[in-house]
Subunit: 215 residues, 2 copies
């Protein structure tokens, strides 16, 4: 099993957490997004979209972090990333997807580069854009967590799962962009609980080997 | 079962296809996105994110189209929206998620309104933005389809599934924005096969009751 990733990619960060929660330690290959490695012809043969992460396993290459994590959960079911009951699974996937579909894709590097280049967005405008979509998404996530009896130490009960895995990198990056998260006490409480997990610590961007060499 | 949707929402369109493929006919409630219904206090109690679709089933409200479709596939497994084998499931979810995470969220109404209001994007700039992300995503999807022996009449084999369900609304909207799709023959071939399905026809935006009253 080989993970193609980059320390600062939220989507690769997610997959690292999932792997480490399951006690897996794949080979890793660095795709340096700042250097443009993701657009090389060689990497496009791995991942035609030119994005990270990709996961090579047993002759197949899998793309898209959410699909990769569902795969990991299917072939390494213990510990599970999703609850057993269909409604619980839908709740966890719903929260995960608010982040994975409606926050993160708007705020990744390719998009920020586009709004700078095409719309002349300066630092304030980029930060405004970033914070707007974090707020729009977290305004949806916070009540789903705060108002549900199914929320526990983590997003769903007392074990970490797919929603927590998406939450941590999003909070991490929101803090990098100085987003005001004071309106999201439940998100912050769960994020704090996640940060105490060895798997999350091991997956943190700063704890990846390439972090030392890249500003 | 009740679906909160809107004829022009790609995400609601997806869920309609999934429901009709499975022979389900839920009650529907219109959330008029042009009129701002999604932001009303009443709808926010259903869906705190203020997005469509939402699915009410048996006392629970589910959000996010991808989570809703996984739920439908779990409780109404026949016909399945995902293949049996884990690698096949990951392939289908990967293709579906390129669309659901990396194309559609960038091009929905809220985002287009933002770039008009905040960046002064005119019609050409909005169209350029829209087409750029369609191209970026479809450039990834086309080779995953064209170069795989697992592609059949549909994205994965000869029965429609989750990837096809995401493909159809994305092609539909790309055509509305006059995107040049000539570089994606496999996408177009599969889209044509999908359009022949009764479930897709029934789910088309123009075939929803509210389409008659809204320009």
């Amino acid at each position: 099993m080989k993970l193609y990733g980059y320390f600062r990619s939220s989507a690769a960060f997610r997959v690292r957490i999932a792997l480490y929660l399951k006690g897996l330690a794949p080979d890793t290959e660095l795709v340096n997004l700042q250097a443009g490695d993701q657009s090389s012809a060689a990497y496009r043969t791995i991942n035609p979209q030119g994005r990270v992460p990709s996961l090579e396993d047993d002759g197949a290459v899998l793309v898209q972090s959410m699909a990769i994590m569902e795969y990991l959960d299917e072939i390494y079911p213990d510990p599970p990333l999703l609850p057993v009951a269909a409604k619980g699974r839908a709740r966890v996937r719903g929260i995960a997807n608010i982040i994975a579909c409606d926050i993160h894709p708007l705020n990744n590097l390719a998009i920020l580069n586009y709004i700078k280049a095409e719309f002349g967005a300066d630092t304030d405008a980029v930060n405004g854009w970033y914070r707007h979509w974090v707020k729009q998404g977290f305004d949806g996530v916070e009540p789903l967590l705060a108002e549900s009896p199914e929320t526990g130490t983590f997003c769903h009960g007392d074990a970490p799962g797919l929603a927590d895995i998406c939450l941590v990198p999003q909070v991490f990056n929101a803090q990098r962009f100085d987003c005001d998260l004071s309106g999201y006490p439940t998100i912050l409480r769960i994020n704090d609980a996640c940060l105490k997990l060895d798997a999350v610590d091991q997956a943190l961007p700063g704890n990846q080997p390439e972090a030392a060499g890249i500003a």
